[in-house]
Amino acid sequence: MERYRLAEDADLISAIATGKEDALGVLYDRYSRQCFSFAMRILNVEGDAEEAVQETFVRVWRSARQYDVTRAGAISWILSITRNLCLDELRRRRRRAPEMPMLDDAPERAGEDRTDLEAERKIMGEQVRAALKSLPSEQRSALELVYFHGLTSQEVGQLLSVPAPTVRSRLRLGLLKLGGIMQEKGLIAID
């Protein structure tokens, strides 16, 4: 596994596509925490989140040949798989027992030793969370319900008793405001 430790993500995925389990192990070690955190944020149940992460990496294993580095960074690709799986699980839960999505943050746990990259990611995470918290509550709720719970504007509107166009307007204002904050903090570059 050592030979892959310093490999670029795209090279890892190429190696996975040729059946190299060690490469998958390195990719898992690199991103499973981020995937799990993301899954927990959406599902809020540890067992379900672990299952989503496992399924994510099984799909990476199966679909590595289809990964197109020019279309998305590896972590974006992996997290999009995680998100789709989590939203599917949420939909299954809603069919079983409709419930009000929770907007509270997932519980925080002490992290282990971090590499520089992980520390940087943690700082970015704090900045993103701070940016989200700085939004007016109605914009933040709309964004969280749509992004982390996979609801449409129509569904959010029903939940919050406001018309769907109002939800869309809140989403737009919220995203544009977040974009401005993230640009100020150097998290994204706006053309």
């Binding site: 059946g19 389990e21 998958l24 672990e50 679909s63 590595a64 998100r83 997932a106």
Partner: protein, 268 residues
């Protein structure tokens, strides 16, 4: 939507990935020629990409990692690594999982029958595969694609097309055929990773004991045509295995996906 109507209210849902494809299509079309909308969407998409970071970092348990690799051990395609080792000559070349572990390999036909039975429970039927039937395919054997598509289109026009779907894990194969035709169109997705020198191969069987080889192909996602010796209607199942590049005359293992052709439904 006219060129003067800017769908700005729908851009957030598109960027956040919750807009249904049917609603997304005209918006993407609009953005192709509308720079302001495109710029706003791209900004929102960049923001959306960072949203996963808003989750507090939590470590999965070490047992989760172990379970993942345990599960991969049962994945089809695993252990058929025949590629020159990247790491040097000390890396073992495993020809097959079973032979490497010294397990007794049961006769293929019994494993096929089991797989067919297991697959029958997971058969999904529906019209969704029809949409796949008209997408492009890249197999070398697709020389008369237009004529073949015409046959399918003609059958579709008569309401005679039949589809059967086999699923296994995240893998899926949808077989579309016209009555009496000696060819079927199959759309595959989520197939296991291939190593160098290996290919997928399709097989038809009438009894689960004898197998007729069909197309050998490389793409784990896409569509291709499967020629058969007899009318496809006369076969009980189609299965996919992983074989050497040139294809095989007998399947070397149980299929990782089986489509039960007796459970087809008509597409109207």
């Amino acid at each position: 939507m006219t060129e003067h109507e800017h769908p700005v209210d729908f851009l957030p849902e598109l960027a956040l990935g919750v807009l249904p494809a049917a609603e997304a299509a005209p918006i993407r079309q609009h953005m192709a020629t509308c720079q302001p909308c495109r710029a706003e969407y791209e900004e929102m998409a960049r923001v959306a990409q960072l949203l996963p970071l808003a989750a507090e970092e939590i470590e999965p348990t070490p047992a989760a990692r172990e379970r993942l690799f345990e599960r991969l051990r049962d994945e089809p395609g695993r252990g058929v690594v025949a590629q020159a080792p990247i790491g040097g000559p000390d890396e073992p070349i495993v020809v097959s999982k079973e032979s490497a572990e010294g397990k007794i390999v049961r006769p293929v036909r019994w494993r096929w029958m089991g797989a067919i039975a297991a697959s029958a429970a997971a058969i999904l039927v529906g019209g969704a595969a029809l949409g796949y039937a008209f997408r492009g395919a890249d197999d070398e054997r697709l020389k008369d694609e237009n004529a073949r598509q015409a046959l399918v289109v003609e059958a579709a026009g008569r309401g005679d097309l039949r589809v059967a779907v086999g699923v296994s894990g995240g893998m899926r194969a949808s077989v579309v055929r016209a009555p009496g035709s000696k060819e079927a169109f199959v759309w595959v997705e989520g197939m296991p990773a291939l190593v160098e020198g290996k290919r997928y191969q399709a097989w038809f069987t009438k009894d689960g004991k004898t197998f007729e080889p069909s197309t050998v192909f490389a793409n784990g996602q896409g569509g291709l045509w499967l020629p058969a010796r007899d009318a496809v209607d006369s076969y009980a199942a189609m299965g996919l295995t992983i074989e050497d590049e040139g294809g095989a005359t007998e399947p070397s293992s149980a299929p990782f996906v089986v489509v039960d052709l007796t459970k087809s439904v008509r597409i109207r």
